[in-house]
């Protein structure tokens, strides 16, 4: 992208001379041979060079089987159905409005008595035995 800055500057200079032309049609005259070469390299190759610089160990074949196999196995993997159901229940619980925290929580200062303890909240998931 650095090659684009001097081009823009020259385009600006040109603009004052070629006021009739819309910006997109203005000729941009490269300042040097180096810039001419940069222009010739496709933007795609420039992007590829950028990517390779950031990830030098990136595989040669991006469309290779590893990449495709990852695509075939989309979807979140769980350990087993129990894990899945727990995760689902957790999500459901998160969506329910959370109860206000008990303001008179008693911990640490003294041994609590039954009157000090907060009321046990009823189960969110009703037991099947409860009918």
């Amino acid at each position: 992208m650095s090659a684009e800055v001097p081009e823009a500057a020259s385009a600006e200079e040109q603009k004052s001379e070629h006021n009739m032309l819309p910006w997109s049609l203005q000729p941009s005259i490269p300042n040097s041979l180096e810039e001419m070469e940069d222009k010739v390299t496709s933007p795609e190759k420039a992007e590829e060079a950028k990517l390779k610089a950031r990830y030098p160990h990136l595989g040669q074949k991006p469309g290779g089987s590893d990449f495709l196999r990852k695509r075939l196995q989309k979807g979140q993997k769980y350990f087993d159905s129990g894990d899945y159901n727990m995760a689902k229940a957790k999500m459901k619980n998160k969506q329910l409005p959370t109860a206000a925290p008990d303001k008179t929580e008693v911990t640490g200062d003294h041994i609590p008595t039954p009157q000090d303890l907060p009321q046990r909240k009823p189960s969110l998931v009703a037991s099947k035995l409860a009918g």
């Binding site: 081009e7 190759k45 590829e48 990517l51 390779k52 469309g63 495709l68």
Partner: protein
């Protein structure tokens, strides 16, 4: 809410109904209001007609994978009676839904009261015939067929055949042919799974039946190729009848070439003479009689070519955009980023970029064309490539089969635009 993200949009054959599916497995159907003289401004507005839960999340016990309830595709069946039928599919299961109207109910039953309670049989002294009375319109959706357990991989396409009896469903590696009446069997017509998965080089990305020739279908691949198959030639269509691929200039090949050539959608023209494919940066129109190269190539957002590195890093390069034809095949439309969508007029060779957003769409106001500027000095009204919001993608669009009415899905919002009359 993420569950509201629209994942598919489809008009029915007459255009009076518009169905949307979302990530939460819901289907919402809109109906076009009949134009009447007393309300001239309603001019064919679409209002909610029916909403139902089509798919629920499931768990694949064998692979310990979650099966998403997201609706991947909806396809309408041609209307044959008062009810409407559509197919909706998630990754694994296709369902046939019947949507019917009820505007009458029977009153005066003998054995039960109006509120449903059973009458004491000893109190019944006379026999009466129930009469039908009008009631408020109720639209009911009921699942009539469930086509399950036929796909190991994720379903990306369904397509109803012109014979109105069969349809195909395609996943990453296989295509199956179904009969609409039969749910316990399907025929496998394409199988590109290699014996050794290490040798996998491409996957199926989309498939569609020809609009008139019931023996012909096409499927596209992640390598930018399209294969046309004729079911008359053999039961298993692993060998194509036609192979469409644009020759590539080897000197311009890069790491991204194959990824951006992957076809995300393929659609036959209404005439059946052409087909259109969408890859990451362009839309191509192919003449079915010419396999060597497309007859038209339209650039959707060529300015993204110099952003491919970051688009690869944020995964946007894998976004699957759809495309559609207008009723007369004279124009094509596809989506882009920043809630922009593009329309190309094939006759005049003109194209336009429009935006689907609340700010730019006041009811009954015209859409203003948008422009992306690629560098240097930005004009007022233009947006620079670096300010584009890549989270605002328009992947799903639909065009009314006859009129100039389009439906554009922008994340969890649906926009319906109509051509101005005078």
């Amino acid at each position: 809410m993420a569950a509201d993200i629209i994942s598919t949009v489809e008009f029915n054959y007459s255009g009076d109904l518009l169905a949307t599916g979302d990530k939460g497995g819901r289907v919402v159907i809109f109906q076009r209001e009949q134009e009447n003289k007393s309300r001239p401004h309603s001019r064919g507005e679409y209002n909610v007609y029916s909403t139902f839960q089509s798919h629920e999340p499931e768990f694949d016990y064998l692979k310990s994978l979650e099966i998403e309830e997201k609706i991947n595709k909806i396809r309408w069946l041609p209307q044959q009676n008062a009810a409407h039928f559509l197919l909706s599919t998630n990754d694994k299961t296709i369902k046939l839904w019947k949507i019917s109207e009820r505007d009458k109910r029977a009153e005066g039953y003998n054995l039960k009261d109006e509120d449903g309670r059973l009458r004491d049989p000893f109190r019944i002294t006379a026999l009466r015939v129930p009469i039908l009375k009008p009631m408020d319109l109720m639209v009911e959706a009921s699942p009539r067929r469930i086509f399950a357990n036929a796909h190991t991989y994720h379903i990306n396409s369904i397509s109803v055949n012109s014979d109105h009896e069969t349809y195909l469903s395609a996943d990453d590696l296989r295509i199956n042919l179904w009969h609409l009446e039969i749910t316990d069997r399907s025929f496998n017509i394409v199988d590109i799974k290699p014996a050794n998965m290490e040798e996998l080089t491409e996957v199926i990305t989309a498939a569609e039946f020809h609009p008139h020739q019931c023996n012909v279908f096409v499927y596209s691949s992640s390598k930018g190729t399209i294969r046309l198959c004729d079911m008359r030639s053999s039961a298993l269509c692993d060998r194509h009848s036609k192979f469409f691929e644009e020759p590539e200039d080897p000197s311009s090949r890069s790491f991204f070439s194959e990824i951006i050539s992957s076809i995300s959608d393929v659609k036959f023209s209404h005439s059946g003479r052409y087909m259109m494919t969408r890859d990451y940066l362009s839309v191509k129109v192919w003449d079915l009689n010419m396999e060597s190269r497309p007859v038209e190539t339209h650039q959707v957002h060529e300015y993204l070519r110099s952003k491919l590195c970051s688009l690869y890093e944020n995964d946007c390069i894998f976004d699957k955009f759809e495309c559609c034809w207008n009723g007369s095949d004279s124009a094509i439309m596809t989506g882009s980023y920043n809630n922009f969508f593009r329309m190309f007029d094939r006759d005049t060779r003109r194209d336009v970029t429009l935006e689907a957003s609340r700010e730019s769409s006041k009811p009954r106001a015209s859409l203003k064309p948008r422009k992306v500027c690629t560098g240097g000095k930005r004009r007022k009204d233009e947006i620079s490539v670096d300010s584009l919001d890549f989270n605002k993608k328009i992947l799903h669009t639909a065009w009314h089969p006859v009129d100039n009415v389009i439906a554009v899905a922008a994340t969890n919002n649906l926009y319906i635009f109509q051509d101005k009359i005078n």
